[in-house]
């Protein structure tokens, strides 16, 4: 029986690589969804506002693990055998879309009403107002909470292990199955996650201080 050694650690690192890949996919695709959701949530029209609200309520009310399972098993109904990474990325996209969308909506709402009104009185259309006045300011505010949210993304990719995608946690489970040294194995898994996440936390904190968005 192999014991936990360099080979096993290397295997964990390879899993960590996939964790990073999945996180990046989730951030990019989820970010696109989140952007649309944030815009729809502050829209003047009732339909997109209600629809995006329902979407957010549904996703925020379901555990990510159930989303993963639904995405993974749902497509097999149509006879499509979805690879685990696609299902995981899809579930993460839905998840990030709802949560990050709410974060970004908060950033849009943080822009003082006077800014919206001033743009309007300058005769700007809604689109112009959004692009030239609101978004540049909102994006500035949104950077620190987005960085902090990236920590959530990295941590939540661990749930992809449940549908069998070999990222860090699943790699840990596999190593554990081979070596029967669960404690050492998962300590290392936790340490790798910490190394991935802690810099992001610190970075987020520094940005927060620099942008001075904290209300003290």
């Amino acid at each position: 029986m192999p014991t936990f050694g360099l080979n096993q650690f290397e295997f964990l690192l390879r899993g960590a690589g996939w964790t990073v890949v999945l996180s990046a996919l989730a951030l990019v695709f989820g970010g696109i969804v989140a952007f649309a959701i944030a815009l729809a949530r502050v829209s003047d029209a009732a339909v997109p506002r209600t629809a995006s609200n329902i979407y957010v309520q549904l996703i925020q009310g379901t555990p990510l693990i159930v989303l993963m399972l639904i995405c993974y098993f749902g497509f097999s109904l149509y006879g499509i055998d979805l690879p685990a990474i696609v299902a995981a990325a899809l579930a993460m996209t839905l998840y990030v879309g709802a949560f990050l969308g709410e974060v970004w909506r908060g950033c849009l709402n943080a822009i003082p009403t006077t800014q919206w009104e001033a743009a309007e009185s300058l005769g700007m259309s809604r689109t112009e107002r959004m692009i030239w006045i609101i978004l540049p300011q909102a994006i500035r505010i949104s950077i620190p909470p987005t960085v902090t949210f990236m920590v959530q993304i990295v941590k939540n990719t661990s749930l992809a292990s449940i549908i069998g995608f070999v990222e860090l946690t699943q790699a840990g489970k596999l190593v554990n199955n081979a070596t029967f040294q669960p404690f050492i194995c998962f300590i290392f898994v936790a340490m790798i996650y910490f190394v991935l996440c802690y810099p992001l936390t610190v970075w987020g904190r520094i940005l927060e201080r620099r942008f001075n968005v904290r209300h003290r």
Binding site: I65, V66, I70, P182
Partner: protein
Amino acid sequence: MLYQFDFGFLAEKWPLLVKGLLLTLAMSGLSTVFGFLLGTGCAVSMRYGSRALRLATRCYVEVVRNTPLLVQIFLIYFGLASIGFRVPVFATAVFSLSVNIGAYSSEIIRAGIESIAPAQIEAAECLGLSRGQVILHVVLQPAIERVYPSLTSQFVLLMLGSSLTSQISAEELTGVGNLIQSETFRSFEVYAVIGICYIALSLVVRSLLKGFGLLAFPRWRRLGSRA
């Protein structure tokens, strides 16, 4: 599409689902209480504790907040087993969830404590309140009142997070779902039902917590609810 949706398993398996639902509620209720107490303790010790205690709580909070809940659950479950403790799954689940929520709520409560104006504390000291009384009545109570809405969302997230304990074979809602799925092979239908249960559960938990807030903080009732 030729697939026929079949929710027939519900007729037979619903008692199992109800049992899982109740276990989810019990598990998240207990860990909410323990985690809240732990978080409050940590928040107070981060503010008023000795240097060593502050460092220790800081480390605890950072480690928990920067590692996934799933890994924490595995670590505690297998860790306890490898030291030779045979702890029932339910206790392990509650323990790991409490450790997790403790760290998150301590950060939230700390933010509340920091928002208390120093003049309030000085005024309380002038009135001759002891240090313990100041912390309890002047700092903690209004601090928790202020951050209660954020705590509420964190507790709902904890309830959803309790689904992860199915991975150490706790038979809560998701665990029961896995079980039914492996018997009926109706995976999509089963998880859709489970998802709906969670959505209903989160609505219920949210309004329960809101009601509790109205009971616990009488000022809200007078000023109108904030949660």
